[in-house]
């Protein structure tokens, strides 16, 4: 009885001290502070909009979190988002009025791009940074060919629905994010696959000697990253009504920042997507905050950096490794 109580107490303090929780607390504190300064900022509609924006970053960060935990990094996510958002309208063929087939086709393509990344990292032993940077470069070349050619307005019902519908008052994008988050968290923390990813990132040599299928796991995480980036591209297309070259650009740094702000170690092996979720929300919140501040571009940039640094000081101690 007594022992049970202390165990619960221990778990409670562990949760209270955890990075994801701290990040959530910081987000809420920033929201409260900002709505005192500018009442409109804290309006329900605005916060909902911020979360909708965070959904895109959050989707990209889902794959990125997997990759980073596995000890890699994916620099091709921005290009994949763009390829998805620009490529999808070209696939909207008449036969399927819902548009689902086109979405599935695009997601299959972006997942395949991710798998190629994984192939390069696992089999060619190319450093993830180099492999994914090169992939991003390839995709830029591809974009010169495909972009601007035909109309790229989204005539896809499902895409439009995703970008604009609000079932039960909640934007469909947020619902999509919630669903993907649940799947990702389960895959990460409640399956053997997730455990393999952590093992791979913490010590690839030991993981391999313990029988972890290293190549397959590596390919899978990059495949997931391609998939979630592709999904983010679909969502962002729906929200904007139109895809354009460069639409994915903001999501590279944002996804990495969300992952590390959420407490995942960039060295791999430690972390959780549960941190990247508030990390993404924190990021859009700070961006919105500096947007409404009336100051010169230089000062706004300084303010942005200082906020990140300040929040990091509150939450970001790294424990020693090795």
């Amino acid at each position: 009885m007594n022992a049970n109580e202390t165990a619960t107490g221990k778990r409670a303090t562990a949760i209270l001290r955890s990075r994801p929780f701290l990040t959530v607390a910081i987000v809420i504190a920033v929201w409260i502070g900002a709505s005192f300064a500018s009442p409109g900022f804290g309006a329900y509609g605005h916060l909902r909009y911020l979360i909708e924006l965070a959904a895109v970053i959050g989707l990209v960060a889902a794959g990125q979190t997997f990759v980073v935990i596995a000890g890699g990094i994916d620099l091709s996510v921005a290009a994949i988002v763009t390829v998805s958002a620009v490529g999808l309208p070209m696939l909207s063929w008449q036969a399927d009025p819902t548009g689902l087939t086109a979405i599935l086709a695009v997601l299959a393509m972006t997942t395949a791009i991710g798998l190629v990344n994984g192939l390069g990292v696992a089999l060619l032993r190319v450093h993830p940074m180099i492999m994914t940077l090169a992939m991003a470069t390839f995709l830029q070349g591809l974009l010169i060919i495909i972009a601007g050619g035909s109309a790229v307005t989204a005539e896809n019902l499902l895409v439009k629905w995703l970008g604009n519908a609000r079932p039960a008052g909640i934007p469909a994008g947020i619902l999509l994010w919630l669903a993907i988050s649940a799947i990702m968290l389960v895959a990460m923390h409640a399956t053997s696959f997730g455990a393999r990813v952590f093992a791979l990132g913490a010590n690839p040599l030991a993981a391999s000697l313990s029988g972890v299928p290293v190549s397959a796991t590596t390919m899978a995480v990059y495949g997931i990253s391609g998939f979630t980036s592709g999904l983010a591209g679909v969502l962002v297309l729906g929200m904007n009504g139109q895809g354009y070259v460069g639409i994915g650009d903001p999501y590279l740094l944002a996804s990495i920042a969300a992952v590390v702000l959420g407490g995942t170690s960039i060295l791999g092996g430690l972390g959780t997507y549960a941190g990247s979720i508030p990390g993404a929300i924190l990021l859009v919140t700070i961006t919105a905050l500096i947007t409404v501040v009336n100051a010169s571009a230089g000062w706004r940039s300084i303010l942005f950096g200082s906020l990140i640094l300040g929040l990091l000081l509150l939450s970001g101690r790294e424990s020693a490794r090795r």
């Binding site: 391999s208 313990s210 430690l270």
Partner: protein, 502 residues
């Protein structure tokens, strides 16, 4: 004699990690010209004590004294100036630097502010000669086997011409031959009036080398006395607080004729053209000087490094496994020697470490049950005597306990062939006994064990046969009847080449 002041001493020092006391009011005094043994089970606090003595950690209470004077804040640099050198249990080497640069690290000779490579080469060479390290000084340490790295670590301590030399399990991955070199050397240094603190789980070494012993149990000093008139059993009694049984189990040889693994003309890494049969029901020892290719033999069989063969069968399937997952599926399991780099995920909890081979083999999307994992890990921990909170990161475990985790994690999978690379490295005597029993029971149950060991008595008392390896070849296959430490050592040295050939 006894009135000489201690060169280095700890007076009533205490230390706790995250509120868990590890040392409680421990005192120890190192006298010149004396080899002082520090004994205790895994996790007793030995390494922590020497970290306090060498300034790597500050004590929570108590004082450290050098030449009888308390030092207010000891640091590693200060310790070096005071003539204290440490051979760390977890090696302090940098893989990308050369042997010489590692030996000099933190104490480079310099001229005009630059490292004096001439002086460094000369002094590093002298230190290497003392321990019998003959590799070119420019070799990056990362290319050396664990045993050779251990020698570099020792040379690094000697390079500093210490007055006080602290050795934390220096022989844990050395074979009998290298150990002999080291004990002779320590004997000589003692004669020169150096104070030596010696930690080892190999009690016969302690018996031959040391004059005085301090015993730690759960962070408390339980004995501080002369070794005179004590035998190995007495030492164990001091450590565990009860009468020890025999270290090695009694057993009947019961190998079958059916080989679990049979390879012809295997070449992998340093090994070339090896023919080997591993029979079910036997413990097959692998011996030899360190770094002769023994490890590559195991890794080649395990599918972890590329291997060429003329033919092979593994548990009835022909061909060698093409990769570790396949090897696991065929019932092979491998326990590496370098637990930090190859065996464990130090930043992950002990539970996850213990469960990892399971995660690797179960279907990828199979749901995990944390409770079942905790229970399974708890059972393994109890079986192997792994101490500590299983939810904590493996890096918080003492060296010996880490080794137990690396071995224990395979047990739930009931492997048919265990490939063990120095599995008792750094393991305390009680646990060794348990491991030995387990290995023999394992063999008795009709499975096969390959035991690569640097601990020669282990090979003699535990194995049905011992393959001795030199320069990438099996130079002798000693059967149980002909097993002795001398036979193994001489085969390893190449003394009886003729005899084997005949």
């Amino acid at each position: 004699m006894t009135s000489t002041a201690p060169l280095l001493a700890a007076r009533g020092v205490s230390k706790a990690f995250f509120g868990n006391p590890v040392l409680r009011e421990v005192s120890i005094a190192l006298l010149p010209g004396r080899v002082h043994a520090l004994l205790g089970e895994n996790g007793a606090g030995k390494s922590t004590l020497i970290n306090l003595l060498s300034g790597a950690l500050p004590p929570d209470g108590g004082t450290i004294e050098v030449d009888g004077r308390p030092v207010s804040r000891m640091t590693p640099a200060g310790a070096r100036q005071a003539g204290i050198a440490v051979v760390q249990q977890e090696l302090s080497l940098t893989a990308s630097l050369s042997i010489a640069e590692n030996i000099g690290l933190g104490a480079y000779p310099h001229r005009f502010g630059l490292i004096d490579y001439g002086e460094l080469a000369a002094r590093a060479k002298a230190a290497c000669d003392l321990v019998g390290l003959y590799e070119p000084l420019s070799t990056p340490v990362g290319r050396l086997s664990l045993g050779r790295r251990q020698m570099v670590e020792i040379a690094k301590a000697l390079y500093r011409n210490p007055r006080v030399l602290i050795l934390d399990e220096p022989t844990s991955s050395l074979s009998a031959t290298e150990t002999k070199i080291l004990t002779d050397l320590l004997e000589k240094l003692r004669g020169q009036g150096i104070a030596i603190l010696y930690i080892s789980h190999r009690l016969n070494e302690v018996m031959t080398l040391c004059q005085h012993v301090t015993v730690l149990k759960d962070g408390i000093c339980t004995a501080d006395r002369s070794l005179e008139g004590t035998d190995a059993a007495g030492l164990v009694r001091l450590m565990v607080g009860r009468d020890p049984g025999d270290l090695f189990p009694q057993w009947q040889s019961s190998p079958s004729v059916t080989p679990a693994v049979a390879v012809r003309n295997l070449s992998a890494g340093l090994m070339h053209d090896v023919d080997l049969d591993i029979r079910t029901g036997e413990v097959l020892g692998i011996g030899g000087l360190v770094g002769q290719g023994q490890e590559d033999l195991l890794l080649g069989l395990y599918g972890a490094i590329p291997a060429r063969i003329a033919s092979a069968t593994v548990n009835g399937v022909s061909g060698l496994p093409g990769g570790v997952p396949k090897a696991n599926a065929l019932g092979l399991a491998y326990v590496p020697a370098d637990r930090k780099r190859e065996g464990l995920h130090l930043i992950h909890s002990i539970v996850t470490n213990l469960m990892l081979p399971g995660f690797a083999r179960l279907p990828a999307l199979k749901p995990r049950s944390r409770r079942a994992e905790r229970e399974a890990a708890g059972r393994l921990a109890a079986q192997f005597g792994i101490k500590g909170d299983l939810g904590r990161a493996a890096q918080a475990l003492s060296g010996g306990n880490q080794q137990k985790v690396a071995l224990a994690k395979w047990m739930p999978h009931d492997p048919l062939v265990l490939l063990l690379n120095d599995p008792t490295r750094g393991v305390d005597v009680e646990t060794k006994r348990e491991i030995y029993h387990m290995l023999r029971n394992f063999a008795a149950a009709g499975k096969a064990v390959v035991l690569l060991s640097s601990d020669t008595p282990e090979l003699v008392h535990l194995c049905d046969r011992v393959a001795v390896i030199r320069e990438g070849r099996i130079v002798a296959m000693l059967e149980r009847g002909g097993l002795s430490e001398e036979a193994i050592v001489s085969a390893a040295m190449g003394a009886d080449r003729q005899k084997v050939a005949a």
